[in-house]
Symmetry: C2
Subunit: 171 residues, 2 copies
């Protein structure tokens, strides 16, 4: 991977940006950022609203997306549908300013505390991507399980904001 | 996958438990639970404390783990290190009672609101797996990035609780 210039991220800086993973003690209790990317080169990043702590979305980052996020303080992900670096809000303008990033015990997952510069973070038009809840009352034997909406009002007009762009949801 | 009996989950019930994914409209705006498991048969499940909404961990579920969770209301995951169904708390006793499950727009990620039946959810001994934060002040050019602990007191003695078990962290 040879990231293009911009945001201070170069191929050289990327190589030395993260520590090598050497031991369980280093990874779990050390003070080095030594993330573990999966076999696709990705790790999940949970995005929460910095003020309300509401979970807004879950995205995936490769090393370049994480480095760009750290440098720019703007959330960058790897778009699995487009197979490209994705600066959140590049189309909608609803960017995410990153205030804090938490790391988990084995450093293969992140939590981003962000300020959303716009009405929402979900491509369907809701504030949060988690706008539905499983109806636990429908969990019975072999019957199909149902979901119900918990966020009912659209935060923005997704058809207008993303006009001409393909829907990222994959079947 | 032929799940063993128990918790009401059988191979037959598992097959009819989740809806087939037929269209973007159905997946994004319908009332059927039609989860998308990745090429390893997994989806990520963010676990939050039902009361404080603090993020405790991120686990992965296969279809059987999700079905068992829905039936038993106890969090089950797929252990990627052990390659086996993992009832959270089966060793420590610190099980997670599931109060709510949220689903995201394309149904490939979940949020579990849980009540933890014990002092913590992290195998290192902390309350949350996200006990460290990236020190944004150390993000400079090509220097290694540092992390610092934000949860400093251990919630339980992990060495005693998990005595004799291998550490799940992979290098």
């Amino acid at each position: 991977m040879a990231p293009p210039g911009g945001s201070g991220v170069t191929a050289a800086s990327l190589a030395s940006f993260f520590a090598e993973r050497r031991s369980i003690e280093q990874v779990e209790l050390g003070d080095e950022l030594a993330p573990r990317f999966d076999h696709d080169g990705l790790l999940p990043a949970i995005v929460v609203d910095a003020k309300s702590h509401e979970i807004l979305m879950l995205g995936y980052m490769n090393a370049e997306a994480l480095a760009r996020t750290l440098h720019s303080r703007e959330a960058h992900f790897w778009s699995r549908s487009r197979q490209a670096i994705w600066r959140k809000g590049e189309h909608s303008g609803f960017t995410q300013t990153v205030e804090r990033i938490l790391v988990d015990d084995d450093q293969d997952a992140l939590v981003l505390h962000v300020r959303v510069n716009g009405p929402g973070s979900c491509h369907v038009g809701f504030r949060s991507c988690f706008y539905r809840e499983i109806d636990m009352g429908t969990v019975k034997g072999a019957d199909p399980v149902r979901v119900r909406q918990i966020e009912t009002d659209l935060a923005f007009d997704a058809a207008a904001i993303y006009a001409g762009l393909p829907n990222p949801t994959r079947i």
